[in-house]
């Protein structure tokens, strides 16, 4: 049987695989000293934090709060980091990761929602700090559920593990749906607690409350920020924390064991790695990060229902990891951004105002593509490197524009989709297929084998020998 996540046996390295995107940047980053990395990293983080407050014109999401989208992104980023531990590092294909997300969200919901029989906010969880108190409980419970799922199932491998975890995700959703007395069934739990910070006269729920819409006229970023932005900031904080902790784990014995298991489980076992134990570790750590994200989600939306946690979402999480580059922490965060942002960006977008304009533009687009193709066939060899790249970039642009125009034209015919956002899964599916054909290792592929030897050796391999000698 196959192991889906295993790196393939020696295969012809195509050109795209040798030159990974961002390899130069990665080399430069690894060359910096720790303080220099902080000095570069902190301004980048600050710029990122300010993006939702002052949204750049093209990046903004019309009709949807950009802060809310970024909050969703930070939650998906946490998910991607957690799932990356399971799939990217330990090589365990988990298709039911949404189950952990749901457990985290439902824990917060069950403890603080007035719809729940286990609501503790009247007894000993003060409403003002109920959310904060629930987060550790949610993380602990998801870790426990990871343990419960992992202990029996981690003995099966590869595809079997995939289907068993898929079943787990579905069972969690069905339980949330069917235990009507407990979870309020398909109606869901509403009025879930959120952290009440900076409560004032004008803002009775604090800055995290759904009532905080921000003040777009103000120049003070803290006044401009709506509740989504505040959640995004909290999410960024948690993401950075998770990155630091998991990064340390990956550089430790645990991380090396994970990579060994991913590359060849039997060999690792024979070399004395207790594979079951470390696989369970990966599951539990991945699960608890997922639970943390779920707790954030429940707090921000203040409402959970079973429909929010279906298998499609699980697939999306996996896609975030694979799109970004399985095994690469920063890559999967980019993947999470694409998953969270693109559907929202397309929401309520209509490219053309009437059907005939749409057809005209579509025809122009097709003509452009045809022209590019002819150019490539006839004169492709005579073009310079940058001209070739330009042609490829234009072609990609034209294909994307063509797909969007196609969707827009469809919207004008009767019935069906209302905006391009309705077609998001169509585009998403196409993007996945194209991506896997053109770049199966993800946008930012990881130099996987080298991770096993640790950072120092990695640098030693990347740098000429005398440089290392001069340093030490």
């Amino acid at each position: 049987m196959t192991d889906l996540t295993k790196t393939a046996a020696p295969e012809p390295q195509s050109e795209s695989q040798r030159a990974g995107v961002g390899d130069g940047i990665r080399g430069w980053w690894d060359g910096l000293s720790r303080p220099a990395q902080w000095a570069v990293g902190i301004p980048i983080v600050i710029v990122l934090a300010l993006i939702p407050v002052f949204p750049p014109p093209l990046l903004d999401t019309p009709g949807v709060s950009f802060g809310g989208v970024m909050a969703l992104f930070s939650m998906y980023a946490l998910i991607a980091i957690g799932l990356n531990v399971v799939v990217g590092q330990a090589g365990l294909l988990d298709l039911g990761y949404v189950g952990f997300y749901a457990v985290g969200a439902y824990t917060v919901g069950l403890l603080t929602s007035p719809n729940s029989p286990w609501n503790q906010t009247d007894n000993w969880l003060e409403p003002s700090w109920a959310w904060v108190a629930c987060v550790p409980i949610a993380v602990a419970l998801t870790a426990l559920s990871g343990l419960i799922l992992g202990t029996p199932t981690l003995r099966v491998r590869g595809d079997y593990l995939a289907i068993v975890t898929l079943g787990f995700g579905e069972i969690v959703r069905l339980m949330a749906d069917n235990l009507g007395d407990l979870t309020n069934g398909s109606l869901g739990l509403s009025k879930i607690a959120y952290p009440e910070v900076a409560v004032s006269e004008s803002m009775p729920g604090g800055v995290f409350s759904p009532g905080n819409l921000g003040d777009p006229s103000s120049w003070n970023p803290f006044e401009r920020a709506n509740n989504g932005t505040w959640w995004f900031w909290l999410g960024m904080f948690l993401v950075i924390g998770a990155l630091l902790i998991i990064g340390n784990l990956e550089r430790s014995r645990v991380g090396r064991a994970w990579v060994a298991i991913r590359e060849d489980e039997d060999a690792a076992e024979i070399m004395g790695v207790p594979t079951f134990k470390f696989k369970l570790w990966a599951f539990v750590i991945g699960a608890s990060v997922g639970g943390l994200s779920g707790a954030m989600y429940a707090g921000q939306v203040t409402y959970v229902n079973p429909k929010q946690f279906d298998i499609i979402l699980s697939m999306l999480f996996l896609c975030a990891v694979v799109l970004g580059g399985s095994g690469n922490k920063l890559g999967v965060i980019v993947g999470a951004f694409l998953i969270a942002y693109l559907p929202m960006r397309l929401q309520s977008v209509q490219l053309v105002s009437n059907e005939s304009t749409g057809y005209l533009l579509l025809a122009l687009d097709l003509a452009l593509l045809l022209g590019l193709w002819l150019l490539w066939r006839r004169r492709g060899n005579t073009l310079g490197v940058w001209a070739r790249r330009g042609v490829i970039a234009t072609a990609i642009f034209a294909v994307v524009a063509g797909l969007l125009l196609f969707g827009s034209v469809l919207l004008f015919r009767q019935g069906g989709a209302q905006s391009l956002g309705d077609l998001k899964y169509l585009y998403f599916g196409i993007a996945l297929v194209v991506m896997m054909v053109l770049r199966p290792q993800g946008l930012f592929s990881v130099r996987q084998k080298l991770l096993a030897y640790g950072r120092q050796v990695y640098q030693a391999v990347r740098k000429p020998a005398e440089l290392i000698g001069a340093k030490r």
Partner: protein, 345 residues
Amino acid sequence: MTSAASLGVALLADGSIDFNVSGVIDQFWRLTVDGLTYGSVYALVAVGYTLVYGVLRLINFAHSEIFMLGMFGSYVGLELLGFAPSGNVYSQGVVLTVIYLGIALLFGMAVSGVAAVGLERVAYRPLRKRGAKPLAFLITAIGMSFVIQEFVHYILPKIKPGLGGTNAQTGIRLVEPKVQFTFLGAEVTNVAIVIVVAAVFLAICTEVMINRTRFGRAIRAVAQDPDTATLMGVSRERVIMLTFLIGGLLAGAAALLYTLRVPTGIIFSGGFILGIKAFSAAVLGGIGNLRGALLGGLLLGVAEQYGQILFGFEWRDVVAFVLLVTVLMFRPTGILGESLGRARA
């Protein structure tokens, strides 16, 4: 504080799950008949998963969408014959009904077969040429299943109004379920007979084809060792195409049989849960093993029916997954183990 144990206690105390054992005993044979009916549909779909897995070592996650297209295919077939989805059942006489069903079956099989081969051409072949990782195949399969679902959801109604779209298609009811005989107190309807007989017949045909014919031998050879098979003059591409074709045809047949039993299932997302269950059935029996698919399908169908009475209707889907996990814990390769490649040479 809460924990899994207290959750379990709470479930029992709340009475959310009541163990209706007497219900199962009372209705044992009825449930068995129902279970076999659903199970044989699962089995037919599971054969598609198992074949592709045996040959390519690939979970074809888009197979459930092939099945869904089959439901639309047989619907269109019946529509072209002049039927419309009205509330009542058409009464055409036995011979005519069988002929009409046969035509609808052909339509369903044709659509599914073409879709399966097309899926392989569009999505998997480029990946194979590049020697992609197995995970890339899986993601592609997920992507294609999104594309096919959204195609039926949004694009199909624009191409042919009245087909596809957000709401379920009202099925055309050609056959009225009529009780033919009672078996130990269980009423066996004509629909159930048709479904079980047709499904088992098709599954046996496939089994015979794989084990007795030249194509079958080629498929087994590729499943066992693709490189050696290629060296021996077996066209790998052709075998793969054939595998997808057989899987697609069976899924199409299963689609028609399923709509006979559940006329309301024709919807863009209608294949999803059934696909997962069929895949569970394939894994249950031992993926890569045709008899395993049949056994797993029937077993899953029956277990689901018992479980649905035992625990309550809403737990029906959970039963399937719990059964799967339980079996995998004790036999990690499924009941019969995998063996398409290792079958008698």
